[in-house]
Symmetry: C2
């Protein structure tokens, strides 16, 4: 019996889950839910497409619904809503609103005797898991998180909203010398500017004032003002040719000391280098869908995060096999 | 109420746990158990020392016993034995014998309604956890584990057993070009020789045949024959001065692909750089002692490994706090 997976939302993330499930022998894709007109959607696999409002009718056909909408507008509504009918997994990533989202999903899941797993991805997600474990191991130490090199969707959007900008792509880049200082174990205090630089590739509208655009970018509060930012104006063709990928990545460090005189230094580094940010996130969502299904089968209910789930639940092999081969 | 910790065995690992518990506000060290004459042991903290045969008398005074003996002779006996009286955590690291050890500890724990956590450390332990999670996320991929640069106790001992050798230290060193090939994503097939080199520092007995010692090392089956090995003869003073530390470390990689054409590559790297191998392992044991205590308080029983324990159990903060601050 394969785990029957549903996907809610067919953007980059939904397409990534469609592909990930196809490569996972213990799962099968049963349905796609959308808020658009189902007949307008052409899926890669030909999986049946239903309108979101038909969710209730599918409840006996799907074990886990993977939500692939956005954190700003989709997930706060959809995750608790769909938890009435299915076990749910989402990638809610607005850090500050996680506790609120958690309690809404927890309530919905408990009422329906379902499992929900929220904030699954790499940050929040794998990075959080590494921060928690490494802090627990080395209580006397310092955390560092670096992002990139990779495309920040939020920053790209912010540049696109500037008058005269036709298209834009923003890369977040960790400062190599800062990485080296952290790796050396000196536990540096680093400002925002010392940790990352930002690089923007901009297609300007014809006749637009490029100097004005550049200033608007570099002085934008929150997004760019605290960073050293480089702006390149390029053609639409160059944008298409060299900047159509969505790579990302990052590193989480824990630098701690042990010993009666704090004389021994230890550095834990977890690093990701990703060609496709959405496909990697989709792969994590898919692994946690397996965990959600297993927890549900055990009779557990309520909302979980990556911090609440033992690693063995993620892997297709049994605990006996894992102990014999991977421990 | 602090978690009351006992230590069984006072070698490098036991001393590391003594120090780690001292730096952990939610724990206190209650007793040390030894197979030696208790009066012969001078602890750093002055914690009371008892003979191993008095374990039963201490069962109401200790929540979790951390076993700090060796995998070859101590733990196979001691962990099931002490599980009659305490929740237990050990660092059993003979990979091939883990299933057997697991089932003996599991039986003992279930009879006594205790929790046992075995094979806690970094390999097995943190490396295993990373292998399992990364395989689950990227099923279409390849694992690589590199160790070092660091002191291998087993290889150092093997050199010390050679006739004419007074003292020896062996460093395992990952081959930098192999690391780079893995990081580049080319998924190389690497032989044993291509992954690691071995470097030995040897103090020879006076008048010993150095050429014969060097040949004996380099041709030793299993330990050295499959590696490029360098041998340096040094003085006792140099050994003391430059090779008294026990550093270690290593890296686990998962290199996988996603996408309909496997067109997107992803590299997950978990890396450790440790000044003191035993103190780092002790720190992990201490964090898992917290998990063992919490699982016990929930009414769980039986044997667990790092694969069976959710990350939140390791960290002193509550799940609510973790979600609000670290997720």
């Amino acid at each position: 019996m394969k785990i029957r997976i549903g996907i809610a939302g067919y953007g980059n993330l939904g397409r990534g889950v469609e592909c990930a499930v196809q490569n996972t022998p213990d799962m099968e894709l049963t349905a796609l839910l959308t808020r658009r007109d189902p007949s307008s959607i052409q899926t890669h696999t030909g999986v049946p497409v239903y309108h979101m409002s038909d969710a209730a009718k599918l409840q006996d056909q799907i074990d886990v619904m993977i939500l692939c909408g956005g954190s700003a507008n989709d997930l706060p509504e959809q995750t608790p809503e769909l938890a009435q009918y299915f076990n749910v997994v989402d990638s809610f990533d607005t850090h500050a609103k996680i506790p609120e989202h958690f309690s809404r999903v927890d309530e919905a899941c408990k009422q329906a005797n379902k499992i929900g797993v929220i904030s699954v991805g790499w940050d929040p997600g794998m990075f959080s898991l590494n921060r928690v474990i490494a802090q627990a191991i080395l209580p006397n130490g310092q955390d560092y998180t670096f992002w990139g090199k990779g495309v920040s969707q939020g920053h790209s959007d912010a540049v696109r909203r500037i008058e005269g900008v036709k298209d834009a792509r923003q890369y977040t880049i960790p400062v190599e010398s800062a990485l080296e200082r952290v790796r050396s174990g000196e536990n540096p205090v680093l400002t925002t500017r010392q940790k990352h630089t930002r690089e923007c590739f901009v297609v300007a509208e014809e006749g637009a004032d490029r100097a004005k655009i550049e200033t608007a970018i570099k002085t934008m509060p929150n997004y760019f003002a605290d960073y050293d930012t480089t702006v390149h104006f390029i053609s639409e063709e160059e944008m298409r040719k060299n900047h159509s990928g969505i790579p990302h990545g990052g590193r989480v460090f824990r630098c701690g000391v042990t010993g009666w005189e704090n004389e021994n230094r230890h550095i834990i580094e977890y690093s990701l280098k990703l060609d496709s940010n959405p496909e990697f996130t989709s792969s994590i969502l898919t692994a946690y869908a397996r965990a959600a299904y297993r927890l549900y089968k055990e009779g557990q209910t309520g909302c979980k995060t990556v911090l609440d789930i033992a690693p063995a639940y993620l892997h297709p092999a049994s605990s006996d096999e894992l102990r014999a081969t991977l421990l």
